[in-house]
């Protein structure tokens, strides 16, 4: 499963880092870092992160 984040949209709200801490993190510079390839067991977490993103910047791809 691939995780896409549109960094032109991301404003570092950190909602995803809260919803799916294993996948998303804000770095020390407040810029988002994330795993681009994750296992299916994290689908619900990543979906929750995508739903919580105020900028709607996160997209999942199987």
């Amino acid at each position: 499963m691939k995780v896409h984040v549109d960094m032109n949209l991301c404003q570092s709200h950190g909602e995803c880092a809260f919803a799916a801490p294993e996948v998303f993190q804000l770095g020390d510079d407040d810029v988002l870092v994330w795993k681009e390839e994750v296992g299916a067991e994290l689908r619900d977490q990543v979906q929750a992160a995508a739903d919580a993103c105020p900028m709607m910047a996160i997209r999942l791809e199987d």
């Binding site: 570092s12 950190g14 804000l26 770095g27 020390d28 407040d30 739903d51 919580a52 105020p54 709607m56």
Partner: protein, 409 residues
């Protein structure tokens, strides 16, 4: 089989509909919305859309893949729990098996002196934003009445567009729900960008000959203005539920912890109109008017609508919200308005984090240009710890901003 109905076609209603479909419901699903427009996101309305950085299409949600009957431009007038029907403005009666109420809020308007003058605006919908946008030309004199989230964001956007901005509030500070310390910093931020502030003074009325000329304040001041933006908060759209038999608290429909309306388990609520007990608020009933709450609560209400009452999950997400003003991102988690005291726990030039507490327990954290740090506080806040515990934790955190401030106990 009667359809499942969602009343309200904004964020909470959309997310409820999506959750109902992704939860496997294959029956009829109807979404009723008062506005003609498809669902859209509101935060850009006072910022990017108003500034012209985003267009309308970029605010709209993609709802094309959601299998539902969209009844847009239709206002719900009455909920009849006896016959299990919703009466629409057209007179049509829409039967439902279960219903999610997500009718949101409308802007509070000015009803005092000068209410009918041309040049008064409120900001709640895309059409409101587009109308206001036309007036925000360089040199225009904009008076913002109400220094809350919307007022402050409009003031910042109008300033950026070259307008001359005055902001008035009867409160002594800007964004009062975030406490006095943040309120003072926010006032300094606006003053530093040239906004003229009149705080602690009420509006006597708007004056002009058909068209707005000035605002008169209770202290006798007169502010010449081309445009006034009335940003006096929002009113939950629950009038149509009067007489339905549902209960109300804090301006919203009283629900249990699973977002099920008290008194009828086929009625669920989400977003601005839902009042429900929250553990971080000590189990007291809260109502939250923010984006993330609408999004997450909509989904939660949709999931719960698919199962029987005893299988429904409690909704306990800690509220998160933010505001962008000039170059500042101000973010908050928890219930800042419940805090009786704020402590600054870490700071660097231009950035800080403060924690709000009530009876010694942390109930909120507010970050000023410090997104990563806020995620740490948010995790800490989940446990509703004593503020002393958070202070000790952050004092030991090598990544805390600057030299951690030793707060006096």
């Amino acid at each position: 089989m009667k359809p499942m109905v969602i009343v309200g076609a904004s964020l909470a209603g959309l997310r409820a509909a999506q959750a109902i479909r992704s939860g496997g419901y294959e029956g009829d699903l109807v979404v009723v919305g008062e506005e003609q427009r498809p669902p859209y996101t509101r935060p850009p309305l006072s910022k990017e859309l108003l500034a012209g950085d985003h267009d309308v299409a970029r605010c709209e949600f993609d709802h094309s893949r959601l299998e539902a009957t969209w009844r847009l431009g239709e206002r719900a007038m009455q909920l009849d729990l006896g016959t299990r029907e919703i009466e629409l403005q057209s007179g049509e009666r829409l039967p439902f098996s279960r219903v999610v109420l997500a009718t949101g809020c409308r802007a509070r308007t000015w009803s005092g002196v000068g209410a009918g003058l041309e040049g008064l605006f409120t900001l709640r919908t895309i059409d409101d934003a587009l109308a206001l946008k036309e007036t925000l030309v360089p040199g225009a004199r904009i008076a913002v009445v109400g220094a809350g989230f919307v007022g402050c964001e409009v003031a910042a956007t109008a300033t950026k567009l070259g307008c001359t901005v005055t902001m008035v509030d009867i409160a002594e500070r800007t964004i009062t729900p975030l406490g006095p310390m943040i309120g003072d910093r926010c006032r300094e931020l606006h003053a530093g960008h040239g906004v003229e502030l009149h705080l602690g003074v009420g509006v006597r009325g708007f004056v002009g000959d058909g068209r707005l000329a000035a605002i008169e304040l209770d202290d006798g001041a007169r502010i010449e203005a081309d445009v006034a933006v009335v940003a006096l908060g929002a009113i939950p759209n629950t009038d149509w539920l009067d007489g339905s038999g549902l209960s109300f608290e804090r301006g919203g429909v009283l629900c249990d912890s699973t977002l099920t309306a008290v008194g009828d388990h086929d009625v669920l609520c989400a977003g601005d109109v839902a009042s429900w007990p929250h553990p971080l608020a000590g189990g007291t009933v809260v109502r939250v008017e923010h984006w993330t709450n609408a999004a997450e609560q909509g989904a939660a209400a949709g999931r719960n609508a698919l199962v029987e009452p005893d299988q429904r999950a409690s909704y306990e997400a800690v509220p998160y919200f933010w505001t962008d003003q000039y170059d500042v991102k101000l973010q908050a988690v928890g219930f800042p308005a419940l805090a009786t005291e704020y402590q600054l726990l870490e700071e660097e030039p231009g950035r800080f984090v403060a924690v709000g507490s009530r009876d010694g327990n942390a109930v909120a954290a507010v970050a000023w240009n410090a997104p990563r740090r806020l995620t740490i506080y948010r995790r800490a806040l989940d446990e509703q710890p004593p503020i002393d515990t958070i202070r000790t934790q952050m004092a030991a955190d090598p990544k805390a901003l600057g030299a951690t401030i030793e707060a006096s106990a």
